[in-house]
Symmetry: D4
Subunit: 253 residues, 8 copies
Amino acid sequence: MELIDILAKVQSGDLDPAAAAELINAAAPPAYDDLGYAVVDHDRRSRTGAAEVIYCAGKTPEQIVGIMRNMISRGTDNILATRASQETFDFVCSAIPDAEYFAPARIIALTRKSEPKRGPRVLVVCAGTSDIPVAEEARVTADFLGCDVQGIYDVGVAGLHRLLARLGDLRGAGVIIVVAGMEGALASVVAGLTPCPVIAVPTSVGYGASFGGIAALLAMLNSCASGVGVVNIDNGFGAAMLASHIVNLTAEK
Amino acid sequence: MELIDILAKVQSGDLDPAAAAELINAAAPPAYDDLGYAVVDHDRRSRTGAAEVIYCAGKTPEQIVGIMRNMISRGTDNILATRASQETFDFVCSAIPDAEYFAPARIIALTRKSEPKRGPRVLVVCAGTSDIPVAEEARVTADFLGCDVQGIYDVGVAGLHRLLARLGDLRGAGVIIVVAGMEGALASVVAGLTPCPVIAVPTSVGYGASFGGIAALLAMLNSCASGVGVVNIDNGFGAAMLASHIVNLTAEK
Amino acid sequence: MELIDILAKVQSGDLDPAAAAELINAAAPPAYDDLGYAVVDHDRRSRTGAAEVIYCAGKTPEQIVGIMRNMISRGTDNILATRASQETFDFVCSAIPDAEYFAPARIIALTRKSEPKRGPRVLVVCAGTSDIPVAEEARVTADFLGCDVQGIYDVGVAGLHRLLARLGDLRGAGVIIVVAGMEGALASVVAGLTPCPVIAVPTSVGYGASFGGIAALLAMLNSCASGVGVVNIDNGFGAAMLASHIVNLTAEK
Amino acid sequence: MELIDILAKVQSGDLDPAAAAELINAAAPPAYDDLGYAVVDHDRRSRTGAAEVIYCAGKTPEQIVGIMRNMISRGTDNILATRASQETFDFVCSAIPDAEYFAPARIIALTRKSEPKRGPRVLVVCAGTSDIPVAEEARVTADFLGCDVQGIYDVGVAGLHRLLARLGDLRGAGVIIVVAGMEGALASVVAGLTPCPVIAVPTSVGYGASFGGIAALLAMLNSCASGVGVVNIDNGFGAAMLASHIVNLTAEK
Amino acid sequence: MELIDILAKVQSGDLDPAAAAELINAAAPPAYDDLGYAVVDHDRRSRTGAAEVIYCAGKTPEQIVGIMRNMISRGTDNILATRASQETFDFVCSAIPDAEYFAPARIIALTRKSEPKRGPRVLVVCAGTSDIPVAEEARVTADFLGCDVQGIYDVGVAGLHRLLARLGDLRGAGVIIVVAGMEGALASVVAGLTPCPVIAVPTSVGYGASFGGIAALLAMLNSCASGVGVVNIDNGFGAAMLASHIVNLTAEK
Amino acid sequence: MELIDILAKVQSGDLDPAAAAELINAAAPPAYDDLGYAVVDHDRRSRTGAAEVIYCAGKTPEQIVGIMRNMISRGTDNILATRASQETFDFVCSAIPDAEYFAPARIIALTRKSEPKRGPRVLVVCAGTSDIPVAEEARVTADFLGCDVQGIYDVGVAGLHRLLARLGDLRGAGVIIVVAGMEGALASVVAGLTPCPVIAVPTSVGYGASFGGIAALLAMLNSCASGVGVVNIDNGFGAAMLASHIVNLTAEK
Amino acid sequence: MELIDILAKVQSGDLDPAAAAELINAAAPPAYDDLGYAVVDHDRRSRTGAAEVIYCAGKTPEQIVGIMRNMISRGTDNILATRASQETFDFVCSAIPDAEYFAPARIIALTRKSEPKRGPRVLVVCAGTSDIPVAEEARVTADFLGCDVQGIYDVGVAGLHRLLARLGDLRGAGVIIVVAGMEGALASVVAGLTPCPVIAVPTSVGYGASFGGIAALLAMLNSCASGVGVVNIDNGFGAAMLASHIVNLTAEK
Amino acid sequence: MELIDILAKVQSGDLDPAAAAELINAAAPPAYDDLGYAVVDHDRRSRTGAAEVIYCAGKTPEQIVGIMRNMISRGTDNILATRASQETFDFVCSAIPDAEYFAPARIIALTRKSEPKRGPRVLVVCAGTSDIPVAEEARVTADFLGCDVQGIYDVGVAGLHRLLARLGDLRGAGVIIVVAGMEGALASVVAGLTPCPVIAVPTSVGYGASFGGIAALLAMLNSCASGVGVVNIDNGFGAAMLASHIVNLTAEK
């Protein structure tokens, strides 16, 4: 119930001011359910444009199923759960059989109501084969969020011609997610070649002085080509969320 | 001259293949001028959507004026130079009198041809008064790039009601740039309240364990609210560039 | 035996000065037992207000049982052992059957003499479900120490209304322990909303640039809202100890 | 105007629901003034127990005076401004002549209405002479906040007997603020000797591997004696705020 | 097909300019094959002097075999795959039986066409027995690349006479690869004794403050003896690649 | 053969100068044996006062036995091997049955010729039970090296009276090795109480912001009590070596 | 007055037990003077073997003179003050004219009673000319403390023969202090060549990845030659203190 | 005097063996001069292929002139001194008037005997105008060392076509020194395009998360294109030394 409606009832005498004050103060609660171990946020889609996503790391399979069931019970058709192991999926699947698992992306998705994809195109570009799991997390998430998404993998700067050959794809994209580990140079090179927003995802691919992705993270933050927004190391999910927000913006226009 | 034109001349016999090959290989040169100390990139606007911007740190005033004059000679009407001290501006201004200086932002701008602002609205939100210089770098840059930009300053989370009172502005924006130092919590809070893309700029405001902006940078990279793209510490300019790319995207639709 | 008593005996001639000097110098020993691998500190409660707590990491199960038995033999009724695995508890339990295990908190507790809880209320607030183990370490410890403690979990800033809906609880608390990983913004937000002492516990929840809790730690140390004391990463126990010291203070008045 | 009053007017027909909704949404504004460069938070005392404090670093003297005048105009009698240089004070003093300057603490204070000090005692203990400026920031702030505060300086662990000689003072305190640079061992030693809450302030005193206070900060976070809350490096102000919150708690009982 | 040939066809009328433009733009593709998970770079030898090497970490055995088969199908006789476990080799070997495994070096090599070794001598010197795996990665790679390579192991500076006794070997070398963990002092000492290029490889050998090789890395970057090029921690492969490039240079003269 | 002897032979005409030059240059070899994977340094005792010690980490059991046998064959009676697992010892023991294993210290020792202990007393003091393995590495090594060594364990500063009660032992020692993790404060406190050289060993005991021993390491390097030499994290062995060198010095006088 | 004397008076009835208890508790005070800003520790020499040394950084000249005068008034003949600027010395000298200044070492010394030097020899060895200020701090301090000290400067490992030529000096020393910046390799090399205790002082000499001395510090902590104790970066004073403690030990024998 | 000559004299009876032993042990001294503050290494050219270079940072102008004069007196014609300020040069120049100063490179050079340049070509490529001082340090040093050197400046990856247009120069070089700050991507891109050894020099150009060159340093160490040797941040001199060693190698063949 909206604030304006509560007030109308107060004016019409259908509602006591004290009760209304309580109602207004309590207006938030219907927006979530408190499961004890989790307070499921049912208002998130209307507030931020995307429903709550379950981050599985550090949660028990029972908790994950509990949250999913709660969301289903509140009318959420499509649910995304990231950082899920195969074991977690097996447990979830026994409870919710139409859940799907995207193994390299480590994502569980429930899609009961599919929507047409909307443009502009989101391109997920990754530097090497070892970066594919993170790129897939981004691609699967963007797809789940209704984006028209495409992946171009293993086009790192050590073989620049592989990238330049895809210049048409790069320039035709609306948003580009660049996924790279090691020295992360791909983000700068792509941003220097294209006019669209670039979202950079450093990965933990590498060893030694890559320091679990710090080298790539710093490189991306210091990109000499501007217009690059960086997300956390290995955070393919977050990059896709940001891309989706950008795509939404064009849709809203 | 476009590639297709070169080839047409080859077919018509007006051009020798070997000469054409050289021409094609040399196709890039017209896109820049080599001043010895700088190779000015005149192709950048067509390639990335924004003309080259001069990063003044580490350049002599003479070099800056040299680059500006070269750009002017090649038909660039509007020029932006960031990280410029008052001394640098004084020198520039004696050479190019219609250059302007935005002191808190440390930006020199030359605007000989102004364009109408285009939407959606870019909002620059900063946490504290001490963050204003970085916020201004973002605001002035976005304005220069033709964005419809607005600043809301000193609404950090220590006084949450100050921020909540601006919820209407936040929700009405197309892109929000959040500028914050210290613990950088404002980015997460804003991203949790709005559906639009959020660009986070950590600042070096703080002392001790803020480590020159690292605390805010890490906080923003780890935002529990997703959809946040992060730029370098104190990089108001880069945030505005990314915002402008996003705005462009909606315009292109 | 107190120093003043020793001296009285010297004056009365019941004690030789040399023997007394030895006694005084040796006055500390009765306050501990040396087990070779551990010097159990029996004076700690009188000195610091809380009995010695066993930190299990790096100790063998035999050592842990040895220390517990020594404490029991010296009259300690209630014993707390933190960072204990299930395997450790199984061993302890076979030796001391009335020991209890709090699995998520990884705490072993022996409570042979329970005391009434004392106020004011200690509130343990955590940001996400994955932070619960650390929050439980704090809650179980505070409860063991006789505090009136309550937990409010999964109210992170990504869904601010979940937190604001608990404003009454927050403002009614005497001490608030805020447990958060990732960007740790919850501590600043809570401290900005309440007048009571806030103890912040960063957790190692997160990945990539959370660096095992460093991001949250730095955020909490740089909180723009003042009045926040920070403890070590994942140190729910230490936060509860500090909260209990604060509660004791109000009791002493 | 309280929410309940607004609603009463709606019910009585004195207020239109739409106007009331606006009023309610706008309920926050009276709690602050927007000066453009600063949004002064006049609600902070009622919300967090202490009025807004001005952090001078990164603010111009004009901005500082502007904020102080705004606070005065809203009825604030006592104002604290930290991290203020002598130059800043000279400017402030010419505008507000009854402002005082505490040089070692780098604090400007305006105290137009003094209140009786309230207990329990807050003790500020520092390790060395070079730590005195930070200790003084804590002492002056606590005093300003109405605490009964005492300083004991230069009692670091290199000469343990100097500290042990003050055991009576330590044990008689309600809250102890320990200020130490270099290896910061004083916090652990004090916490091991006393039953009261200990607030540890690492300082940037030292050189080389003290890394501007990191060594002391880490030591304090890892204190083997529990019950220690840590604040940012050199943050004497924050320690005093936390101490004052704790003291308030005992007063409220 | 070379650019000049395309243009010749355009001139002769055998090719339409538009089609030619496409061809030219597409000229890169023949230089690689896109396997979906990998874009194999067949141009690398001609471009950089060494064929593509497979970095096995983060790739599935199936992907590795797929890449190897693609390379074989394109005429590559000799293939190197680094960071390969015994399990990976077992899988590869069942598919490509003449592949060899160098266990300490963790390298899989396929050598169907051997070439004579070329000078000058590449010397691989390591500080301790624990550094041998990295040294072997360098030695096996250099050998695979056709270098005349020799290993001298366990001659760290703790027993300087062991190194000095090999002064003749050191001074006779063309390139020296120095492999050392712990404090990495061997690189400085060798560079101070010889006139040839020194390539330093820090290793992760050590514990505590060696921080996984950072201590050795920093030491090598700060070598007081100049003429030292450093590669990533444990990167024996990269050192050998650089050595081979240097050796090639002398051959080309 | 000594240099002087070689030269005598040259003078007597028994030796050709060129051959002699070779002999002199080769004079080092007799001081070591090259096993391929290890160059065993038989000159170390005469050069540095202690025979070579085998660091087992990163070496295969076969290599360890090979080195031990080589040392035995060259007349070394007593051999120390550190960082050895139980599995390594089992292998060694099957080859060299009189080898002994010190489990907590992870040391293998072969002692075929025991020597009388020499003073002054080396004291190994550790802060907590979890530090005992490192303390034992120091104690066993010092004992192996012939020192008169004594251990005092679990006397950390959280219970200062436990330490003060041992003041007699502390003041009677010639060298004190202080082993501590967490905040490492014990080193400063001990150094402030005694006049003898203090060797500090930070341990990796702790969690969170102890960063694997960095907190203790920094604390010890920044000790406000001077006269403290620090060794690597967990390096009980190195501390004992240094202590033994110091003890040797007094013996030589 | 000694404890035993107090007790004797109690027994003889000359002293009331309560007064005696107070006396005993207060027994420490005579060992220091509280100047408000400093608690001068007059017991340090008897406790730790060396009188208190004044660390001038962060102290005002007035405070330094105050401490010196207090020490003089309590009978201290020789006083050392480190990290003193020329300006500080000028002030001190006007108050205490027989104070001396050692400019490169930045040390003020007052020596009213000189003592004969005692052996064994302390050798201060530094790697480069830029390390001399730190080496001088060590040499002047050791000399002040009565050591027979000698400096050998600029013998870094880039020119190993310069060091080897001084092998006689190295082997004749009792304690060697090695001072080196950049990669700090000199400590390992010296420790590998000599049997005596080596104290390593990393310096902040260098740039870039020397990180203000961290590179040298880590190298020294990870020395492959054992028997090296490390002090803080640029801490020549601390190295000399440790050396003096070691020398004292041989004297006591 | 060479060893073989000494021995010949021993054999001929012209020399006593004991005296000869002393001579041999002392054979090093003639290779250097000890100025007290510096031990000038006159053997360095014969040992490492390049004469000693003076690192001016941390040396007084008097020391620098002293070292130069000593080198001149020992017959060194050409002297290089790096990291020299204008003030230092002014002092040097008054003493040695034919010394030259290269201002951007901060190098003082004395060239009394010039030699013909030798190939292959050394190319110094830098990313931006702000990197020029470091690039110039490399170029001037390489030129001083007799290399045929060329500079290509401001061709960073943000405008890739500027670099690709110089592909001919890149592929024609023998050694390429890549100088880049910010994200340092240029090194990977160049190494992926050319077959020659690449020496990467990270610079401290940038701000915020460039951390004084760490971002570029890490990127270069993690280059996905292999064959890259990295030197210290801003170490143009070291890169040129390594390049010269490589060029020497081709000359020696």
